[in-house]
Assembly symmetry: C2
C-alpha cells in the first residue's frame, strides 16, 4: 500500500525562501498580516487532513467507484467520501481563500494552492468535488448578480453546497460554439433550460443537500457559435429567497461514465429537462464568464499532476531503497544482503530524479502563478495587478499542459521503478498513472493549450507578454551571470531565452503565411516554453541553495536542491534541442499526407 | 466500440516487396515451396480469425477478467475465451510454424509473426494463452529429452495442452539468481518441486485438459546465484507414458493479480507443493534453456505493442475523420458541416502519423527479425545461420524495448485524439494504453533490455555485431546515395550511422572507466539505436515505393509509404539529437544525488 507525507519543507522553501511570499503580502492590504507562522501552521494542518483523511480513501475509492440509482437519479460515492467531505467542511478548508464578505477566511490563494497540491497527492478523485465547487464559487463571485451572490456564495464558501461546471455535450467538447442546450426566458425573469450535458465532474453525489450547477446554454435569439452562449446557475433544488431549499429542479444525473481513472469522482451525464435557472453575467457572454472558472480550473489541473507526481515519487523512492535486485554495475554496495537495493542502478535513479525534478519545478511554477493571482487580485498598484494578470494568462496553458504531460512521464517512470509490481493495483502506482491521464485531456486538451499559448498568448500580441517573462529571465541572467557557481544553471536559460526569441519570430512569420504552421509547431513550442519556465524556476531555487551553502548552512536539503537542478539541466532540459527541430520541420509533412491518412 | 481490419496489404508489402521473403525461402529447403499465394491465403484466414473471433472478446474480456475458485484452484476465463481457443486449435493455428515431426505445419516463422501481430491487435490478453504456450513448445523443442518431446510436443503443437513459463518469485524478478524454489531428486529420476511463483501469465485457465508448466528451481547442491538454476517441466496433471493424464500434480493457482490491464489473462500466483517434474536440459543450466523461450518472448512482446499500435491507429483515424469540432486554422474545409472533421488539425494528424509510423516501422522490423530467425533455423549455409542468429540477438532488445515504448507513445497519442471520449472505457482506446503498459515491463523491463543491448550485445563484443548492422546501412547508403529522390531518407541514416560509431566508442570508453556510465547511458542509447534501425526500415520501404512510382504505379499506397517515411524522419527521428546529448551527460548527475534521493 502506498504512503504519503506532505512535503511541507519543500513548500516552505518555495514560499518563504524562493519567492518570499510574506514580503509580497505586506504590499497587499488584504494579506499584510499573513505571516510565515500562520502559513506554516495552516499547511501543517492541511497536510494532516490530506494524509490522514483523504489519502486512505484513494485506493478504495478507485476500487468501489460511484454508483447511480437510475430510479432516484441519486449517486452513491465510495465509502468514506461523504464523511471526509463533512470533515473538510467542518475544518473550514472550503472557505480558506474565499471572500470574507461571504464567510470566507480571506487567506491568499497560494495557501489554497498548497492545500490542493496535498489533496491531489492524497486523492485526486475526491479532491475534484471541493475543487469544482470552488470554481463555481469563483465564477459566481466574478459575474453573479448581488442576489445570486447572496443566495449561493455563503453556502459554496462554507461547503454546505457544492458546485459544478456543465459545459460539454455529446457532440461538443473543445468546440463549445456547437452547443445546443436551450434557455427560454420566463415571465418572472428566470429561464427554463433544456438539454443534455456529459462529462460533468462531481456532477452528482451524496455529500450535500444541494448542488449548484453552472450551465452553458443558448437563448432563443442567440447568434450562432461561441458568441451566442450564456451562463446560468441551475441548482439541483431550487432555492427560496430566504436560502431554504425549494422543489427539485429537473436537472438529473442519467448515467455515470466508466473511465480509465478518477473512479471515485462521479463523471455524470446530466439531462436538463426544463430546469429553472437564472442568468449569470450578460446574455451571450457566457463563455467569458465561464472562463473565469476555466482559467482557475486549468491551473488546478496542473496542480493535480503536481500532486500525483509528488506522491508517485515518494513511493517509488521508498520502493527503490527497499527492493533488492541485482548488484550495482560499479561493485557490490550492500554486502550484507543477497543483492543491492535497486536505487544503486543509474536508470532507476534517473526515473526517480525525473519525477522529483518535475515535482519541484511544478511546485515552484504553481506557487509562482498563484502568487501572481494574489497580486492580480489584491495588490493596490493597478500596474502590478495588470502585469500579474497578463503573466498568469501567459503561464496558464504552460501550467496546464506542461505539468500534466510531465505528470504522465513522471507517474509512468515511478510505476516502472516497481517493475511487475507497478502493474498490480494493490501497490497503487498504476492508479497514479490512470488518474493523471485525464489531466492531459480535460479543461482543454493539451493541444488546445498549446494553441492558446502560441496562437493567442504569444503571437496574439506579438510576443509582448512573452517578453515580460523573458525580462525576468534576463534579470536573473544579469544578476548571476558573473557568478561562476551559478553558470551551470544560468547558461542553459540564457541560451534558451535567446533562442526563444528567434524561434518565436520564425514560427510567427511562417504562421503569418500559413496558419497550419502554428498548429503544427504549437505542441513542441509549448514544451520549449515550459522548459524555459522550469529552467528559470530551477535557477531561482539553485540560487537560494547556493547562497545558503555559501553562508555555511550544512542542511543537506540545499545540496538536494542543487543536485535536482543539475539533473534537470543535464537530463530533462536538453529535450528542447529536438523540440525546436521538430517544430521547425513544419506543417507540410503533416498536411501533405492524404494518402497516408486515407 | 472499436473496430479492427487486418492490415494485409501492409504485411504483404513488407513480406513480398521489401524483404522478398519467398526469394529467401527458396534458399531454405524446408520452406522452398512456400509461395506468395500460400502466404497471402494463410494470412487472410488468420486475419478472419483475429478480427472475427478474438477481437469481439477484447472489451468484454477486459471488463469480466478472470476468476479463481479458491477451493478447486480452477480459473474461469472471460466468456467466449475458451470457445475462441477451441476454434483456434480447430483451425490448426497453434501448429502453424511448429515442427512437422510433432504434427506441426512447418511453415516459416514470419507467418507466425504476422498471425500474432493480428491476434495482438485483436486481443492481447487472449493471445497470451497460445503465445506463452508456443514459448514452452520452443524451450522443450530445443532442450527437452526425446521422452519429454514425445510426451509434450504433439499436444503443445496441436494446442490440446498449453504451456507456461514459471520464473518470477515474490522477491525476484529481474534477478533470477535469487530464486528459492527447490527441486529434490527422487529415486525414479524425477524431481519433487516446492516453492512459490508469481506473475505467471496464462498460469491457470479452463481452456485445456492439461497445462505444461516450465519451472525454474534449484537442485540441492546447486551453486548460488544464476549459475545454480535448473529448468523442469511440471505438468498440471501428470502424464502417463502413453500420453494419457494421470493424477493431479500439486502445482496450484492460489491467487490472481488485480492488474492495470490484460485483465482477460490469468496472471497467477502459483504454489508448488511437492509437485513432480522432470529436468529439461542440463542441471544448473536452466537459465540458458529458459532463454530460448525468453528471447522468443521478447520478440513476441514487441509484437504485442505492434498489434496495439496498429489497432489504436485504425480507430483514432476513423474517429478523426468522423468527429467534427472547430474549423481548420487555414480556412473552413467542410462547408456543409457545422465544423470540420478534426483530422484537419495539424496536431491531430501528428498524433495519427506518430502511431502509423511506429506501426509501420515496427512491422518491418518484426518481420525482418523473424526472417532472420527463419534463416538461423533453416538456412543450409552455416555462416548465414550464424550471422542471422547474431543479428537477431542484437536486435531483440531493440524490438522489445523500442517497440513497446513506441507503443506507449502511440496508444496514448491515439487515445488523446478522442479527447474526453478517449478516457471512457466503451471507446476501447484506454484499454489499448493499459494493455500496452505491461509490455514495457515484463520479459525484462526496458531498462534491462537497454543494458542487454549496450552492455552485452554491443560493448560485449566491441561493437562487432553492431558493425554488421552498420554494414547493411552502409550498403543501402552506397546503393542509393546518388539517388536524389532518396536523399531525404538516406541522409539521416547515413548521418546517424556515422554518429553511432563515435557515440558507441565514447560511451564504451567511459564505461571502461566507470561501469555506471553504461547504466546511465543505456536507455538513451537503445532509443538512438532504435531510430537507426527504424530509419533503415523506412529507407528500405521508401526505396520500394519510389521504384514503383518511377515505374508508373499510381496506387496511392506507395505515396502513403513515402508520406509516412517523410513524417517519421521529420518529426520522430530527430529525437536522437536530444538522446545523444542526455546520454553524454553521463552518470555523475545521477549518482551524486544522495541528498536528493535521501
Amino acid at each position: 500500500m502506498p504512503t504519503y507525507t506532505p512535503p511541507l519543507r519543500d513548500m516552505q522553501f518555495v514560499l518563504h525562501e524562493v519567492f518570499k511570499v510574506t514580503d509580497e503580502f505586506k504590499a497587499m492590504p488584504a494579506h499584510a498580516e499573513v505571516d510565515a507562522d500562520t502559513i506554516n501552521a495552516v499547511l501543517e494542518e492541511a497536510g494532516k487532513f490530506a494524509a490522514g483523511v483523504a489519502f486512505p480513501l484513494n485506493i478504495s475509492g478507485d476500487t468501489e467507484g460511484c454508483t447511480l440509482n437510475q430510479q432516484t437519479h441519486e449517486v452513491t460515492t465510495p465509502k468514506g467520501f461523504k464523511e471526509a467531505y463533512a470533515q473538510y467542511v467542518e475544518g473550514g478548508w472550503a472557505a480558506l481563500s474565499c471572500d470574507t464578505a461571504y464567510g470566507g477566511q480571506g487567506l491568499p490563494f497560494v495557501m489554497n494552492q498548497c492545500l490542493y497540491e496535498m489533496l491531489n497527492s492524497a486523492n485526486q478523485a475526491w479532491t475534484m468535488y471541493p475543487g469544482l465547487s470552488h470554481g463555481a464559487y469563483e465564477a459566481l463571485h466574478a459575474h453573479g448578480t448581488d442576489e445570486q451572490k447572496k443566495l449561493y456564495l455563503p453556502k459554496l464558501t462554507s461547503g454546505e453546497w457544492t458546485g459544478t461546471m456543465c459545459l460539454t455535450e455529446p457532440h461538443c467538447g473543445t468546440d463549445l460554439g456547437l452547443l445546443r442546450t436551450k434557455a427560454e426566458p420566463q415571465a418572472d425573469g428566470t429561464y427554463k433550460i433544456t438539454g443534455n450535458k456529459i462529462f460533468i465532474s462531481a456532477g452528482e453525489h451524496n455529500f450535500t443537500s444541494n448542488i449548484v450547477h453552472l450551465v452553458l446554454a443558448r437563448l432563443p435569439d442567440a447568434p450562432k457559435g461561441s458568441k451566442g452562449i450564456s451562463l446560468f446557475v441551475v441548482p439541483k433544488f431550487k432555492v427560496n429567497a430566504d436560502g431554504s431549499l425549494g422543489e427539485r429542479n429537473p436537472i438529473y444525473c442519467t448515467g455515470l461514465e466508466h473511465k480509465m481513472g478518477i473512479h471515485g469522482n462521479a463523471t455524470a451525464q446530466i439531462a436538463i429537462d426544463g430546469a429553472i435557472g437564472t442568468l449569470v453575467g450578460e446574455p451571450n457572454k457566457g463563455l467569458a464568464a465561464m472562463f473565469v472558472m476555466m482559467n482557475a480550473a486549468r491551473l488546478g489541473v496542473g496542480n493535480q499532476s503536481l500532486g500525483l507526481t509528488e506522491v508517485a515519487f515518494q513511493n517509488a523512492l521508498a520502493y527503490a531503497k527497499d527492493r533488492i535486485q541485482m548488484r550495482s554495475l560499479s561493485g557490490t554496495k550492500a554486502k550484507d544482503k543477497e543483492a543491492d537495493p535497486i536505487i544503486v542502478h543509474p536508470d532507476v535513479r534517473k526515473m526517480l530524479l525525473t519525477a522529483k525534478a518535475y515535482a519541484e519545478g511544478a511546485r515552484a511554477l504553481q506557487i509562482f502563478c498563484t502568487l501572481l493571482l494574489d497580486k492580480a487580485h489584491s495588490h493596490p498598484d493597478e500596474k502590478v495587478r495588470k502585469d500579474s494578470d497578463e503573466l498568469v494568462a501567459l503561464l496558464t496553458p504552460i501550467v496546464k499542459a506542461f505539468i500534466t504531460d510531465n505528470g504522465h512521464i513522471a507517474t509512468n517512470a515511478c510505476m516502472q521503478v516497481f517493475g511487475g509490481h507497478g502493474f498490480i493495483k494493490e501497490w497503487g502506482m498504476e492508479q497514479f498513472v490512470r488518474d493523471n491521464r485525464i489531466n492531459m485531456i480535460y479543461e482543454g486538451t493539451n493541444t488546445v493549450q498549446s494553441l492558446d499559448l502560441l496562437g493567442r498568448k504569444v503571437l496574439g500580441n506579438n510576443g509582448a507578454t512573452l517578453k515580460k517573462f523573458g525580462k525576468l529571465v534576463g534579470q536573473l541572467v544579469a544578476e548571476e551571470g558573473v557568478n561562476e557557481k551559478m553558470a551551470e544553471f544560468i547558461n542553459p536559460i540564457a541560451y534558451l531565452g535567446d533562442q526563444m526569441t528567434k524561434f518565436t519570430t520564425e514560427i510567427g512569420f511562417r504562421g503569418f503565411q500559413n496558419p497550419d504552421e502554428v498548429g503544427a509547431a504549437a505542441v513542441d513550442y509549448l514544451r520549449v516554453a515550459g522548459h524555459l519556465v522550469f529552467g528559470y524556476m530551477f535557477a531561482r531555487m539553485a540560487q537560494v541553495a547556493l547562497r545558503e551553502i555559501a553562508a555555511g548552512n550544512t542542511d543537506p536539503f540545499y545540496q538536494a536542491k542543487l543536485q535536482t537542478a543539475r539533473f534537470y539541466f543535464a537530463k530533462l532540459f536538453p529535450e528542447v534541442h529536438t523540440l525546436m527541430r521538430t517544430a521547425r520541420a513544419g506543417s507540410k509533412v503533416l498536411m501533405d499526407t492524404d494518402a497516408a491518412l486515407a
